[in-house]
Point group: C2
Chain length 113, copies 2
């Protein structure tokens, strides 16, 4: 069944009711990946992928940690970002993830003095 | 039923099989709070508090996010610490939590340049 991805305006989706849902949507939109494509990328069945991701985003269901790790990998964020209820700390976690190992070591050395 | 808390050597407990369990035990030992006292502090029934916390630590059960937030508050760590599978990032999260708001703002300004 041939298909293509067309940018559709985001239907007014239910506002995420969980921290995980909020961060998941934030990271998914940042990565510009539609819900169904993300679901398939983490191994969900194509027919239910979009609905499953949608339910994690709205907080209807909680994703088990191992699935959260897969989601985080596809969205290129540390898994702990998805569980962060503090916006500033969430930003720090993303900044950390974009640093090189050398930059991370330098930061830790600086903060530990 | 009068009772007192006596320091008992940590029985060789099953090694945590989950990231959450590992971080929970780490934070609980750091806070020097026994499992039953932690369980009661987050509102669990006294008779099952210790067993419930033990199962979260060994990874037998996964704590729902709202309970993780209560646990984090008692153990004085950000909730996201309990879901962090990267030791260096986990240390950064703890350092962040010990900073003043002014220090946090300074760090974010420095990292965002």
């Amino acid at each position: 069944m041939p298909y293509e991805y067309r940018r559709v305006s985001l239907r007014p989706q239910k506002h995420p009711a969980s921290v995980f849902g909020l961060r998941l949507r934030q990271a998914r939109i940042q990565a510009d990946i539609p819900q169904d494509k993300l679901g398939v990328a983490i191994g969900l069945d194509e027919t239910t992928a979009s609905a499953r991701i949608s339910r994690y985003e709205t907080g209807t269901h909680a994703a088990p940690y191992d699935l959260a790790v897969k989601i985080a990998k596809v969205l290129n964020v540390p898994p702990t970002f998805l569980f962060c209820n503090d916006d500033d700390l969430a930003r720090l976690i993303l900044l950390w993830a974009q640093m090189s190992k050398a930059e991370q070591r330098r930061l830790m050395a600086e903060l530990s003095t």
